[in-house]
Symmetry: C2
DNA sequence: CTGAAAGCGCTAACAA
DNA sequence: TTGTTAGCGCTTTCAG
């Protein structure tokens, strides 16, 4: 290497703190203080340093900073799920909304989320070690299935983490979630107020807490309305499973006049089957979905559904993580959001 | 999985290379060599070090490593667009597919993309400085509008970057893209082979290169088929604009029998309007969309459309970036992918 | 093939 | 308030 003693032009290497200090005629420490906004610096030196920063085009090397502060100034956004499911999750607009909320909430702090997939045991181990390596100070966890081991791994490792949705297992960890029961009761109220008397429901997988909550909430609300028994068919949140479930329910209960599906995709499938069976929606049968996702806009008739404030939930999740990163002694918290009904055509 | 910490009484701090070296009875240098897979290490020392890594539970501190190697081992996935548009982009499943492809392609190398939004001038500056700080070795750029300044900024800064879609401005930068003209000609062929003789098209914004390509390609293909003139209405890729455009075209050309829309959303809008005007699809009017996005599945009739291999394109984009990061002297390359027709019901 | 030593760029005691 | 002095944990010449 050539010697870069002369400060006339050292264009090759990006300027470092020593360059700034030398140009400003102060010590590295003082330069550092100014750059980090430490109050107790003389105003004259401060402006000299700031000028030097300008003239040198100095950009702090966050890697070096991280090494000593032991803070990465970064967080991981982890998508967890069963083997190979991450692709599916990413393709779901729902995840995009989560990301959007997270990013928006992080923006003012200038921290950016790093996407880590954890849809296999190897990937899960990788995710944990990713954080352990010091590449992130905390983790945001979006997982699909309830027997996910990741929350436990993070708790054990003492890494700040917040979940989107209540953990399936009993783990002391912070999370945001939706009042699924309340959402389901909104759907029930709607159906009943339309005059539906023989209502059925298409539930999600019973190992998914959200699906559980929606089913329970719906049953309880219908019971309050006087319908003690609600026939259930189980789906797995796909459109096809919704079609299957609807077909089944129609066969067993030909006189049904209302359907609550635990998500929009299944509701869309139900709509299709009802159409094929020449049941007019909403006059013969009313249908309510859940999530207010894309498909809800594209069904005919358009789907009445229960919406969750995904972006706000995600933003809150990020906010919680930030506070827990600042003060790791904080106890786990949870914030539950209220859903609301989006009345469209199907009910 | 339950790995107890070794008896050696080092504090609660995670083990470092010196710990490994001490346990293995070698120097830090040798330990480092083994950990980094340097060949020229005696087999005996190698295994001693490996054993020490096991027993200490050592995890390399990538931050320290980065400081000396000057490589972050990370890349940024930058979403650029007009002010505030990033939210929209993230909500689009299309972006999820891009992410999915990127992540999948990066997985074997254990690098994870960091999401950076650049939907304002401030955010764009932030994005550049993010990379300059050394937090990422390169950037993947997904931008919506063609007059994006970000590609230029990266080129000027000498930062390896690859775009999804050809740059709107003339910038020497690598990119992946779709053969939009070819895709449009696929649509034209389909329409013509169905017997359509009076074909119209709903184009996208003329400042978007992809929209340009689709329009040009469609015109040329129709010309080859003998229809010299193709009436055009311009939309902005939204469903509403598709409805507007279709209404307009229907008024001006009541006898039209085929429509090519530059994306699915506009095609869905067109379908709606045709339905309202009691034109049967595909018997009276055939409709072809573009993108094979979610909505294409939910229209009735289901939309015949042109699909692009988004995940593969994204994966290739990541691959290109990786090679350019390894060898920064490489010239910009581009890879153009072929679309294919997805025949469904509407044409 | 191995080890000693010199930093990478920065912050944080501790003095002055 | 400022400067001096140590490192953070790791890689990498350079001798041996």
């Amino acid at each position: 290497m050539t010697q870069l003693r002369s400060d006339a032009m050292k264009s090759n290497r990006p300027p470092t703190l020593v360059d700034v200090a030398r140009v400003a005629g102060v010590s590295r420490a003082t330069a550092s203080r100014v750059i980090n906004g430490v109050e107790s610096v003389d105003e004259k030196m401060r402006s000299k340093v700031q000028a030097a920063v300008q003239s040198t085009g100095y950009i702090p090397n966050t890697v070096a900073r991280s090494l000593v502060t032991r803070k990465a100034g970064a967080i991981a956004l982890i998508i967890s799920g069963s083997d190979g499911s991450a692709e599916q999750v990413l393709g779901d607009p729902f995840f995009g909304r989560v990301t959007s909320g997270v990013v928006r909430s992080l923006l003012p702090r200038k921290v950016h989320p790093t996407l880590v997939l954890a849809d296999s045991d190897a990937a899960r181990a990788d995710a944990v070690s990713y954080v352990r390596q010091g590449k992130a100070d905390g983790a945001l966890l979006v997982s699909t299935h309830s027997d996910d081991t990741l929350p436990g791994l993070f708790v054990d490792a003492g890494i700040p983490a917040v979940l989107f949705a209540r953990p399936g297992q009993d783990v002391p960890i912070s999370y945001v979630d939706l009042a699924h029961e309340l959402g389901a009761s909104l759907a029930a109220d709607r159906l009943v107020s339309r005059g539906c008397r023989r209502v059925v429901t298409i539930a999600g997988p019973s190992d998914v807490p959200a699906a559980q909550g929606r089913l329970n909430g719906f049953r309880q609300a219908m019971a309050r309305h006087g319908q003690a028994y609600v026939p259930v068919a189980k789906g797995n949140f796909t459109r096809e499973s919704g079609e299957l479930a609807m077909t089944e329910l129609l066969a067993a209960h030909p006189d049904l006049d209302g359907v609550f599906a635990a998500n929009d995709l299944m509701a869309a499938g139900a709509l299709q089957v009802l159409h094929d069976h020449h049941r007019a929606v909403p006059t013969d049968v009313a249908v309510v979905g859940f999530d207010d996702s894309e498909p809800a806009h594209f069904t005919r008739p358009q789907l009445t559904t229960v919406a969750q404030p995904v972006e706000e939930m995600a933003a809150e999740m990020a906010r919680i993580l930030l506070t827990h990163m600042e003060d790791p002694t904080l106890r786990p918290t949870s914030v539950i959001f209220d859903p609301h009904l989006v009345p469209r055509e199907s009910a």
